[in-house]
Symmetry: C2
Subunit: 185 residues, 2 copies
C-alpha cells in the first residue's frame, strides 16, 4: 500500500487534533490518507463507517466533500451488547472485571441523557455528572469527556439538539470510546 | 471548487518546500490539493503537465503514485520562443527591455550545458558560471539556481546524467522559471 519513497498525506486540518487526536498524534492523518488511497483503488459508490468512531466518520465525510470524491459516505449506528457496551474488536482484550467496569462509558452517556431530559444544559455540570460514575470504577481512567458541535467538533458550553457527547477511557490498558448525540438516539 | 468550511489538504511532504516552494510557502500544497480535486471530478485516464514547472510535475507524479490515482501522468517538454525563452503566459508582462533580458535564464542553462560538455561536474562551479551571465543583466534578479536530483529534489554536489538544473529569477517584477536536464534535452 505504501510505495517506496511515499510522502503524500491527506489531512483534515485541526479536526484531527481534537478529541481522540489529542492523545494520538498523526492518527487521523494516517486514517484519511489510507482511506483516500482505498477510495482511489476501489472507486466505490458508497462507503460505510461506524458512528462509534464519530470523529473518524466526520473527518472522512469532510475529506470526501472537500476533495470531490464521488462517493456517498454513510454513517451507521452504534451496535451495543445487551448491557450497553458499544461493540468493538477491542472488547475481547478486557478481563472479566474490566468487561464489567467498561459499561461505565455507556452508563455515563445515559446519565447525561437523563440530566438533559430533566432540563440540565450546562456542559460542565453534565460532564461532572458523568465523571461521578467513572469515579466509582477504579480500573477505568477517563481520557476525555467532551460535549462538542457535531459539525465542527468545537466544544460547546451548553448542550442542545445534535450536540455530540463523546467519551474515551482506558479500561485497564484498553482504550475504549463511545458517544451519544443529544436527542438523536 | 472550495465548499464552505473546507479544510482538507493534500501535501507531498518536504518536496513542496524546496526550490520554488521556498519563496512561495503553501503554494505546492494548494497545487496538489486542487489537482487531487480535479482528478476526482474528471477521472481522466491521462493528465499532462509541462516540464517547465518541473517541481510541480514531480510532485503531481509523486502524489498520483502515493494516493493510488489510476491516472497516467505525462510530462511534456518545454516549448521555447525562437531565442530560447521558455513559453509562459507570464512573458506577456515583460517590457521590451525585460523581454530581451529574460533570455538569460535559457542562456545560463546553455552555459551550464557547455561547461558540462567540456567536462565540468562541480555543481558550485557550474552555478558560478551561470551566475556570471545573470550579473550582466541589471533588470534580472536570481531567485535560485540549483542542481538537484530529479527524483528527490535534493541538491547534488556534482552534475551527472539526469541532474535537473533549475533556475528562477525575477525579470523586473515578473518571476520566471526554466530548467534543463543534463544530457536529456
Amino acid at each position: 500500500m505504501y510505495p517506496e519513497g511515499c510522502r503524500t498525506y491527506v489531512e483534515v486540518e485541526q479536526w484531527g487534533q481534537r478529541l481522540c487526536g489529542a492523545t494520538r498524534p498523526g492518527h487521523f492523518r494516517g486514517v484519511t490518507t489510507i482511506v483516500a488511497k482505498l477510495f482511489n483503488l476501489v472507486s466505490p459508490d458508497v462507503a460505510v463507517f461506524g458512528k462509534k468512531d464519530a470523529q473518524q466518520a466526520l473527518l472522512i465525510e469532510r475529506m470526501a466533500r472537500d476533495l470531490n470524491f464521488n462517493i456517498r459516505i454513510v454513517t451507521c449506528p452504534i451496535i451495543r451488547e445487551a448491557d450497553g457496551l458499544a461493540m468493538s474488536s477491542r472488547n475481547h482484550y478486557l478481563s472479566p472485571i474490566e468487561r464489567q467496569a467498561a459499561t461505565v462509558l455507556y452508563r455515563s452517556l445515559m446519565e447525561a441523557k437523563r440530566m438533559i431530559e430533566e432540563g440540565e444544559r450546562d456542559a460542565l455540570l453534565i460532564r461532572k455528572g458523568m465523571e461521578k460514575l467513572f469515579a466509582q470504577e477504579p480500573v477505568v481512567r477517563i481520557d476525555y469527556i467532551e460535549l462538542v458541535d457535531p459539525e465542527t467538533l468545537n466544544p460547546v458550553g451548553r448542550a442542545q439538539d445534535g450536540t455530540l457527547i463523546a467519551v474515551a477511557a482506558f479500561v485497564g490498558s484498553t482504550r475504549l470510546i463511545d458517544n451519544w448525540s443529544v436527542n438523536a438516539q
